[in-house]
Amino acid sequence: MTAVACELCPRRCVIPEGGAGDCRIRVNLGGKLRATTYGRPSAIHIDPMEKKPLFHFHPGTSVFSIATAGCNLHCLNCQNWQLSQRGGEEMEQIYRADPPEVVKAAKEQGCKSLAYTYSDPVVFYEYVYDTSAIARREGLNNTYHTAGYINPKPLRRLCGLLDASNTDLKAFDDGFYRRVTGATLQPVLDALVTLREEGVWLEVTNLVIPTLNDDLAMIRRMASWMRDELGPDTPLHLSRFQPQYRMRNLPPTPAEALDRARREALDAGLRYVYIGNVPGHEANSTYCPTDGTLLIRRVGFMVVENKLTADGRCPTCNQKIPGVWK
């Protein structure tokens, strides 16, 4: 009986033969570590890029999005718990889709980008890596929506194939991470810095939950850390919480609380702070930080107006707007 150690995420599960790691899908089969969901996604959809959300990366385009079961976090408020908190064999349906088939399908559907998303792509790492390598050869972009709970070595290896990432920073508080997600803060901060260092286009999402992580002093500390470590041009998405899964005792985040959090983040020096899950809010749109010109107007996940110049500048003051625009 040979146990194997999974070095992929900071949990570093030691898995006995025939057993599974904390994520449910990484198993020890005959002394070898295997991901049971390799080539077997349970969710495949074509979404707007804005849904990831990635606002400064090919706006208005469609992204071929896939996910398998399993996750290495166990957030009490998980919106996708029916996918993330199950093993592959517990799903109602599974697609047979090896990496070349995924890339072929994305191209046939006219998508220029792939997204590894919904659950956490960290746990189906090998599938992401192999699919990304083929997608890169075929001229497609690889985007990643993750909680960033991954060890530095595998993340750096993957970064060579990634074009963009929206990474959750669920709170700027280790106690919150431990209580609400079952993870810890520092590895997430390290992952964010690694993504920035490796030149992956990075946007950050913070889900603001009433009473748990909506303290303005904490928002200020988080935004200041982002400004210093990731740069003031890193977009921050402050998203509205909705009661979900095992956290139904709290109300949805009031729009005013999101407005206050946004002001705090802007005051801390971040230049692009958005409000998510509030359709029609003016902070769904992108504004020039120099003269306030409305640059990209969004309604929900739709881009209804894009005034950026071809090389990504404000048409009024010629300010260069950071992002990957074409």
Binding site: A67, Q93, A105, A115, N166
Partner: protein
């Protein structure tokens, strides 16, 4: 007297009712823990509806 009572129509109906009740109770206890083959339905990519509305975040 006792034997006559059990063999009477009234006693028989009561025993049958109690047996039925016991059977339903036992099945209710056993059903959730019985092994079942609930493997996921396997589909090819050709069967996927990529544009089906969904409520997954991300």
């Amino acid at each position: 007297m006792k034997t006559e009572h059990i063999r009477s129509g009234k006693g028989l109906r009561r025993r049958r009712f109690l047996a039925l009740l016991g059977g339903i109770g036992a099945a209710g206890v056993a059903y959730p823990v019985l092994p079942r083959d609930r493997r996921p339905r396997e589909l090819s990519l050709r069967e996927a509806d990529f544009y089906r509305p969904h409520d997954l975040a991300g």
